[in-house]
Structures are given as C-alpha cells and as structure tokens.
C-alpha cells in the first residue's frame, strides 16, 4: 500500500515537473518570436555577493537609459523598437559571465551584452565573434581588453593609466615627495599601484614599502594605517570601493596624517563623503564626481537618478557612463538600420556619436571611437579636492591604449 501511493505520487511529481518545464519553454518561445519589435540588451554582472553594490549601480544606469530611450522612441529601419534589459548574475566570476553572455545571445538574441569587469570581458571575448556574434559593451578601464583586437568590443571608460602622471604631479605639489602605497589587493588595485609607482619614480619621488591590503577581508584598518604612517609619508595612494577607502582615509587623518591622498578611480570622492566627514577627504586627487560635470544632460540625469535610487545614494560614473553607453548603442542601431547585426552596429558607432541627443550626455561624452573600440572623450578631467572642500578640475592627457 505504502509503495503504491509513493509510486503514484512520484509519477505525479514527474508529470508536474515535465508539465511545468513544457509550459515555461512555450512561454519563452512566445515572448521571443511573437512581437518582433523588442530587442533585448543583455547584462551580466555581480548582482549578489561582494560585488553586488557595483553591479547594481551599473544596472541602474542601464535601466535608466532604456526607460528614457523607450519613452523617446527608438526607430530602426522605419519600425519602432522597444528595448528590454535582461540582467543575469555572474557573482564576479568570469566563467559564469561567459556562459551568461552566451545564453543572452543565443536564447534572448541579444545583439549587445554589457559586462562591468575586465576578467569577465576577457572571457566573453573568447565567444563573441565566432559561432555567436554580439557586441560587448565593456565597462572597465583596463586597456588590455582593446589590445586583444576583438572586433566586437566597445570600451566605455577612459584608460586608467592616463591618470597616474597628473595624479602624481598634483599630489606632490600638495603633499611632498614621499609616497606610501595603501591600495587594495585586487588585480585592478595592483595594476593601479604599479602604474602610480612608475609615475612617482619617474617624477623623482620616493616610495616606501608596498602596504597594500585586501579591503574586503581586513576587519580593522587601524593596524595597516599605523604601519603605513610609520614611514612618515607626504602622500598616500589609496583605493578600492568608495566606502572602505573612506574609512582608511578617516583613520589616517585620525592618526595625524596631514599630507595628500591619491585616490584610485574605483573610489568616488562624493560617494565617500556619505560615510565619512568631508574634512577627512580633503587634499586628495581623484576622479571627477558625476555631479561636477557640466554636460547638457547632467542635471536632469541626477534628478532622475535621485527619483529612482533615493536621495541618499550618490550617482557614480558606473551608472552615468553605462547610461551614455546604451544611448550610443541605440543610436548606432538607428544609424545602421539593424538591431540584430552586431558588426553593423559596431561600425555605425562612429557616425552615431555626433547624433546622440544632448540629454544623454551626462558624464564626459565621447567624441570618437578608436579602431580598437575605445570610446574617447578628448576633454577628460580629474579633480583635486582642496582644503576648502572645493573640487578643482585637472585636465588629463590620455595615454595610448597600445602596450
């Protein structure tokens, strides 16, 4: 008796599972082919785990752009097109990012996949121009991704190596010649540390020991900061995510450090000011906060961002640059007259750039795209936060992406 009912319930369960699977399959098919005027923009990024906040910032920018573009109306080849974002979590793992991208391209027919992490982008570049074809909207400032000659990559932010010389010069002027390194131990943090080390030595400065620590695992920053300050530096290189970076700077000021900070581009000065007093952040050179840009669309963008994310959250370049990125891609679709040929879309970017509406220009809008696929804004600026809490812009001369 017992075994019969068990058997029956198992069969029922199996039927239910198969049924549900069939249903979900047919649902997928219906959504994909029925309407024809919806284009999926794929996104794979860290939406859970340690990088979740970063992944969400990017996603907000994509959502805002897609909402605005849909309400403005996108027209490709005479037909109205609705953009739709499909976001998948890759937990910062390159392998997962690659399989997510493959899925977005194959199942959802996404012509474009956004990824905000150099490692993931390198993995996706192995599969995006072969059996599957899709454009990578790449949000990373690591130039390695355009050195790989991938024909379908669009790199959005400036090359991080451009900052080192100007950062060095400014920090030396306001601090002094002796630098200590206290950046994060992530791969990207180490690339920055190297780049700053090179510039600082070239400018005749002195560099102490490498005091880099893993910002994500250290429970108490007081120890590492005491150690770094024992070298009696005039300037400190810091940087990782904004919030822990702010804590490190606060601790350094508390322990009596008076010199200048060089802040890696991952940390944003205005976002840091949400966790510590602005006083602790003064005398620092870093990237220019979004709110300090005077582009035609910046003000509206900030308002819309506050509506969407709340007043307490600070809009960062992760959100703003990806907002611009999607606007560029949508315009390139219009110019090329294609929503499904990534090669045509990529080719059309050059002609699309001057056509993009002013309202989408929010955070240093690019004027051209290099042959390797790097969007370039010739008027790149960084900033120095002075003792009065004012941001002074510093023009940045951009280095070549070639090794």
């Amino acid at each position: 008796m017992h075994s019969v009912s068990r058997n029956r319930s198992r069969r029922l369960l199996a039927a239910a599972v198969v049924g549900a699977f069939a249903l979900s399959l047919s649902a997928c098919g219906g959504g994909g082919s029925g309407e024809g005027d919806t284009v999926v923009i794929g996104y794979t990024g860290p939406l859970s785990g340690g990088g979740a906040a970063y992944g969400e910032n990017v996603q907000i920018g994509l959502e805002m752009a897609i909402d605005d573009l849909n309400s403005d109306g996108v027209e490709v080849d005479g037909k109205p097109v609705t953009l739709e974002l499909k976001a998948l979590d890759d937990k910062y793992a390159p392998a997962t990012a690659a399989s997510n991208a493959q899925r977005l391209a194959d199942q959802d027919k996404a012509p474009v996949v956004v990824s905000p992490n150099a490692g993931a982008i390198k993995a996706i570049q192995q599969i995006n121009s072969g059996r599957s074809n899709f454009l990578i909207s790449a949000y990373t400032s690591d130039p390695a991704i355009v050195q790989s000659d991938n024909p379908l990559t669009m790199m959005i932010p400036p090359n991080f190596e451009s900052y080192a010389d100007e950062f060095t010069e400014t920090a030396m002027e306001h601090g002094g010649k002796k630098l200590t390194l206290l950046g994060t131990q992530s791969e990207y943090g180490q690339q920055w540390t190297e780049s700053i080390t090179e510039s600082w030595s070239a400018a005749g400065g002195e560099i102490g020991k490498d005091n880099s620590i893993d910002y994500a695992t250290v429970s108490d920053f007081a120890g590492p900061v005491s150690k770094a300050l024992a070298e009696k530096p005039d300037a400190i290189f810091v940087g990782g995510p904004s919030q822990p970076t702010a804590l490190i700077m606060e601790e350094a000021r508390k322990q009596g450090f008076k010199g200048s900070f060089l802040v890696m581009d991952q940390a944003k000065l205005d976002e840091m000011a949400t966790v510590t007093k602005l006083d602790n952040l003064k005398n620092s050179v870093g990237v220019l906060p979004v709110a300090e840009y005077e582009d035609p669309g910046t003000e509206d963008f900030l308002k819309k961002f506050a509506d969407k994310a709340g007043d307490k959250k600070v809009a960062t370049s992760e959100t703003a640059l990806n907002y611009q990125g999607i606007a560029i891609i949508a315009k390139a679709m219009e110019v090329s007259g294609s929503t499904d040929d990534p090669e045509k879309i990529r080719e059309a970017i050059t002609d699309a750039l001057p056509e993009v509406d002013d309202r989408y220009k929010v955070n240093g809008f690019p004027e051209e795209i290099t042959d390797e696929g790097h969007l370039v804004n010739p008027n790149l600026e960084a900033t120095f936060l002075d003792d009065d809490g004012k941001y002074t812009k510093i023009p940045i001369e951009q280095v070549s992406d070639n090794k």
Partner: protein
Amino acid sequence: MTLFIQQLFNGLALGGVYCLAAIGLTLVFGVLRIPNLAHGSLYMLGAYITYFFLTTIGVPYIAAIGMAAIILFVLGVGLERLVFHPLRNSPHTHHMIAAVGAMFFFQALAQAIWGADFRRMDTPITGELRVLGAEISAQRIVIIITAVIVLALLAWFIKRSIHGQTIEAIEQDRIGASLVGINPSMVSMLTLGLSALLATIAAGLVAPINLLSPTMGDALNLKVFAIIILGGLGSLPGAILGGFVLAIAETMTATYVSSAFGDTVAFIVLVAVLAIKPNGLFTKAVQR
C-alpha cells in the same frame, strides 16, 4: 615602540572580536558535532540588526547590541529546530550542505532588506586615549573591555549555572548526559542560540570601526574556523587563546613582515599547529 604599542592594542581589540565569534562556533561543534558554516552570516545578521535598532529605531548603542543579541538568540534556536534538528540522524555532509544553504539564504535576505551597498554604523563612543604615546580609539578600548566581561560571564554561566553545565555535560558525553535526565535537544537549541548571541555582540562591537555589507561574515568565517582548529575543536580556553594569538600574530606580521602576509599568517600558524599537534592546542573534543 609607539608603533608596537599601537599595534598591540589593535591586535587585542581584534582578538576580542575573534574570540567572541569563535567561542560560539566551538560550542556548537562541541555539542552538535557539526562545523556551522553559517556562523559568519549569523554574525553579519547580528551587525545589521544592531544597525537597525541603533540607526533606524534610535535605541542607545549598548541597548541596540543587547536587543539584537536577543533576536539572534531566537534565530539561532530557530536554525537548530528547522535545519539541524531534522538532520540529526543524517550523515555529516548533510549538515554542512544545509549550513551553506542557510549562509546563502541569510546573505540574500540581508541584501533584499538592506541592499548591497556598504553601510556605516556610527556610535556615540568617540575620542582617543593616549597610552605610552600611542593613540588608541575609545571604541577599541570598549571592544577589549566588553570582550573580557562577556567572556567572564560566559565562563561563569558554563561552569556554575545549571543550564550552562548541561552544555558541558553534553559535550563530554551525550548518552551519559541523556541518562541523567539532560535533554540533548534543549541543549542543542541553547547552544546555537548562545553562539548566535555571542556572534552578535562581536559584530555589534566591530561594526563601528568597519562597514556593514551582506558578505561581511565571509572573511571572519574562515578565520574563526582557523581559530577553533588551532585551539582544539570544542575547547573554550582554546578558542579564547586562539583568538588572541591569531589576531596579534596577524597584526604583528602585517606590521613587521609584510602587509600582504597578514591575512595569510592565520593559515600558516594553523598548518604549523596541525603538523605538530594535530588535535589543536587544547585537546578536548572527542573526534568521532
């Protein structure tokens, strides 16, 4: 010398936090015989709930930690009832998988409620103390003192109170303890509740000098496991000594050897101890 004093106090404060977190874990191992991999996420939840009481409701700091500790105690009891108790007769791997599941659940829960962004918890305790030329922040002194008080209370509870003695009895001999009328189920609930409570105190103390995030328990999780293996699984004095030894070794190595080396030293010490004294410094737990 100033640097040494400074780092010694930093190490002691860190040690206090490690201790409080590790003791709960070692108790759970002693009583339930399982490595509770969700311990770090209980610590994380403790920090967020303290934050909730302190910042959102506006309860004073110490009261906020106390209230969060009570909530986490209940949560710990719930975890034992809903997850570990039903698995009491299954192979050990099941407990581990369940614990990992609970860990991911708690992280996702925290992200859903409080978001993925880092949060800062400010306390009314500010200012610095000067000790032999070194600047020690008042918060770190509070951590050290609170850790000592809580450890003393815990030692009293386990050695002198009836309920505490049942924990030790079950640790020593589960069947024997049952025969004299101790209910192992009750003791299991009490132990998991207590471990969550201690983790919350640790989290509430350390949160003001660091940041809250759904993954803040991950790094701690690894270290507390190193500590209880170092001290001997299930041993209270082992967890206390292990916590301080590891924290001071970590701070001093980072200071005098290399920053990059600081985090690694925990595991080097661990390998060394396992090679020389495989049961840990205080051999107590009966390995089964």
